[in-house]
């Protein structure tokens, strides 16, 4: 499993997306960083100041992020000054946050760092382009904002882990969300659909909402959306649509795996639930479990 994670992350741009606040993204980030460092020094950053003050796994104050010698981090200059690690500043981005301008810094002495990140998708795109084109950085991990997937669509061909926290109280709605993400993540990129020219393609501008369903022509074969984050329908509505036509995206991306964090639910019981709902997705269970 560990080597699989390394292969999934090295030389790629990967987002960590959570289904809710305190889903365990930062804890998973620390784990992923440690795995990646076996092969290459990662570059990591976060999106905005997500306001998560605690972590599911600890249920204690938010876990710190460790940076090791050779890692590149992007955070604000104030956080760089505050850290016990020592950094060499490589670039100052033009974006201002309330905690100072965003900087790219290389770790010279290990320590902990608080991340402050890009505030919109345009900034994420520009930052990733800068890292790839100017610094020739290839392994990038982005700690995404909780319960928002739109960021994943800011980068072409990005990957993401969907970290889903399931607890006894909200199991039904969590499973529905799980099923929805699993379903919409399987739709192909329009570039990968054969004989598109011979089919009736209809493109939805912006979000696919219930009110827009009426605008889809009856002879439509392929419904094209910009990306998977533009779907604002529930599982049953999407399932109904897939019976009528194929759904495709303009921006390709790949869901690497679900990372499932169980609380008050036994793994065996959860596997039974998956079976009931016919969910056969690749699942990475809490890597902190023995």
């Amino acid at each position: 499993m560990k080597s699989a994670i390394i292969n999934q992350l090295v030389n790629k741009t990967t987002f960590l997306v959570g289904n809710k606040k305190n889903a365990g993204k930062t804890t998973f980030l620390n784990y992923a960083l440690k795995q990646v460092r076996k092969v290459v020094n990662p570059t990591f950053f976060t999106i905005g100041i997500d306001g998560e003050t605690s972590d599911l796994i600890f249920d204690t104050p938010k876990p710190k992020i460790y940076t090791e010698i050779g890692d590149f981090v992007i955070t604000s200059n104030l956080m760089i000054n505050k850290s016990d690690a020592l950094f060499d500043i490589f670039h100052v981005f033009p974006y201002k946050t309330v905690l100072g301008r965003l900087v790219l810094a290389k770790t010279l002495r290990s320590g902990t760092i608080e991340l402050v990140g890009a505030e919109d998708n345009k900034q994420i795109t520009e930052i990733v382009e800068y890292l790839k084109n100017e610094e020739e950085i290839k392994t990038i991990i982005i700690d995404g904002a909780a319960s928002r997937t739109t960021q994943v669509a800011s980068i072409n061909n990005s990957n993401f882990y969907y970290i889903i926290k399931l607890d006894h109280k909200s199991i039904n709605s969590d499973i529905n969300k799980f099923k929805t993400i699993a379903l919409i993540s399987k739709f192909k990129s329009i570039d990968n659909i054969l004989d598109v020219d011979t089919k009736n393609v209809f493109e939805i501008e912006g979000a696919l909402t219930v009110s827009k369903l009426l605008s889809i022509p009856k002879n439509c074969d392929i419904l094209v959306l910009n990306d998977f984050t533009k779907i604002f329908l529930d599982f049953s509505q999407i399932t109904e649509l897939t019976r009528k036509f194929e759904i495709a995206y303009k921006i390709p991306y790949q869901l690497i795996s679900f990372v499932v964090i169980l609380k008050d639910i036994k793994k065996e019981d959860f596997k039974k639930i998956l079976k009931q709902h016919k969910i056969e997705e690749t699942i990475l269970y809490n890597p902190y479990e023995n």
Binding site: F58, V92, D264
Partner: protein, 533 residues
């Protein structure tokens, strides 16, 4: 100068989007849309572009290197402070490294012309203790003996802490098969935690089924950690001293740095303008006396010329030497009257924004004001009709007639009754021709306007109907797109000198080509011949 309407009319941004300065300072300059009214300054800018064009042509690789340095420069944080942090200092260092490299790569002609030099070698060396020409920055221990000693102790403690952790983790792994090397904690089912050694690990409740296990580190680890905390606090104080030392050095050169930024902005914009000059085979405009009329030789209105090139259609460049400063342009519908005004406006705006022009020759003068009056391109003012809007704009423009003004008027009063509209245009021409500071170009459909001294009449050559008739087949069913293409093919977009008595009846031919019903065409012709009741 406010030229928002003119910019919209001439579709300037389709060209301006290709103008690409590479530094944030050049981009800020671009976004100001600065229009110069100082002829001397404009001439010097046009000459400097020439020197850079020559340099790019002679030393293309060096110029790519220079542009690469432009791209690396970031916006500095404010220099109006007493203390800079590491990020501020990094930005200053990066500016100095790249500016120095740019100066070294430029030739003497440009350096002398723009008075560019680099005098901050000492400051740059001070900021480069960890390597000359290295662009990154951190507070290197070599800045202070105290900092050096402190960092050494910190490194030793960090190493010991790592060793203690490693030893404890291997102990736990051996005893309990729990691997903490890549995990800060491990979640274990409660039933499996009974035999865990409480000296090595401690347990917390995770959920109703599991416990969260964390390693217990030896006392020595925490003692060392406390020492580390003290050293980190000390380090911050030593770093503060170094920051103060570096800040004072930077502040001593504050004015020089500001001058570098100005020069950089100028150089970056000149390079971007020179790139466009080369790409569009542009020439420097000739700035003449304000009393002289405009002259254009092979002038290209790029927003249209580029479109034509894309569609594979022929573009006819503008060639004319206007005799007077008040010019009336008549001609067919779709005959290019508006394009002529746009070409003049485009060339003039380019000239006064410090660009070269896409023409073999563009002789003009520098205007204090440029006005466009025509179709309402912005949001309508509530309660004002198109005619009302034109009158309002004309009234505003007239206020500037005591200054050197270029006025472009496109089909004035076309929405009002033709008798009064023609009278107003005649009055305008009479008035304009008496203003020595005004150059005006008035396009109109109205024919037989009165002649005035100092007013020239021109017309667009119009449709080559005899050539068109040879090609056109009555039997063939043409689509609208094909009909428009036919008009474009046989329309002669050339300007010719004429007089006020010239009559152009292309409108009927155009209507015919566009497919207007034959009965109406016939009745129209009868009406014009006077045998229509």
């Amino acid at each position: 100068m406010k030229i928002k309407e003119t910019i919209q009319f001439i579709e300037f941004n389709t060209f301006y989007s290709e103008y690409a300065p590479l530094t944030p300072y050049g981009l800020q300059n671009k976004n100001k849309y600065h229009v110069f009214t100082d002829a001397k300054l404009l001439s010097s800018i046009h000459i400097s572009i020439g020197k850079i064009v020559t340099f790019i042509n002679e030393k293309p690789i060096i110029c790519v290197k220079i542009e690469n340095h432009f791209k690396k420069i970031s916006l500095l944080n404010s220099l109006e402070r007493k203390l800079f942090d590491s990020a501020d200092i990094f930005l200053v260092k990066k500016l100095l490294v790249n500016y120095k490299n740019i100066v070294n790569l430029l030739n003497d002609t440009i350096k002398e012309d723009l008075q560019i030099n680099f005098t901050s070698s000492e400051l740059l060396s001070f900021l480069s203790l960890d390597g000359a020409n290295k662009e990154s920055f951190y507070l290197n221990a070599s800045y202070s003996k105290d900092l050096e000693g402190n960092r050494k102790k910190l490194a030793e403690i960090n190493q010991k802490l790592a060793e203690i952790k490693k030893e404890r983790f291997s102990e736990i792994l051996k005893e309990h098969n729990l691997d903490f090397r890549f995990r800060d904690f491990i979640v274990v089912e409660e039933s499996q935690t009974i035999n865990l050694n409480s000296n090595l690990v401690y347990k917390e409740v995770y959920d109703k089924n599991s416990l969260l296990i964390k390693p217990i580190l030896p006392k020595e680890y925490f003692e060392l950690h406390e020492k580390k905390e003290v050293l980190l606090t000390e380090e911050q104080l030593f770093e503060q001293d170094v920051l103060e030392k570096i800040s004072s050095k930077i502040l001593a050169e504050k004015e020089t740095l500001k001058e570098y930024l100005q020069k950089l902005e100028m150089l970056d914009t000149l390079f971007a303008k020179a790139r466009l000059a080369i790409s569009y085979k542009m020439n420097p405009p000739v700035l003449g006396n304000i009393k002289e009329a405009i002259e254009v030789k092979n002038g290209y209105y790029l927003p249209l010329a580029n479109k034509c090139a894309k569609l594979g259609e022929i573009y006819t460049p503008l060639n004319t030497e206007f005799k007077n400063k008040t010019c009336v342009i008549t001609g067919s519908n779709m005959g290019g009257k508006t394009m002529l005004l746009k070409t003049i406006g485009f060339m003039q705006v380019l000239t006064q924004m410090g660009f070269w022009v896409p023409a073999e020759k563009f002789k003009t003068s520098v205007f204090d004001k440029i006005h466009y009056i025509g179709e309402d391109l912005s949001e309508k003012v509530e309660g004002l009709s198109s005619f009302g809007f034109e009158i309002h704009n004309l009234t505003e423009a007239i206020k500037d007639f005591d200054k050197n003004t270029l006025l472009l008027i496109d089909e004035f009063a076309k929405t009002t009754n033709s008798i009064e509209a023609k009278a107003i245009i005649a009055a305008m021409l009479k008035s304009f021709s008496q203003k020595v500071t005004l150059s005006s170009f008035v396009s109109t459909h109205f024919m037989e306007l009165p002649e005035f001294e100092n007013v020239s009449f021109y017309k667009m050559k119009g449709l080559d109907y005899s050539e068109y008739e040879k090609y056109y087949s009555k039997e063939k069913q043409y689509s609208l797109r094909e009909r428009i293409k036919l008009i474009n093919t046989f329309m002669r977009y050339e300007i010719i000198k004429t007089d006020s008595s010239d009559r152009t009846y292309d409108a009927i031919k155009i209507a015919d080509i566009l497919g207007l019903n034959e009965e109406i065409i016939t009745y129209t012709k009868e009406y014009l011949r006077g045998n229509y009741d």
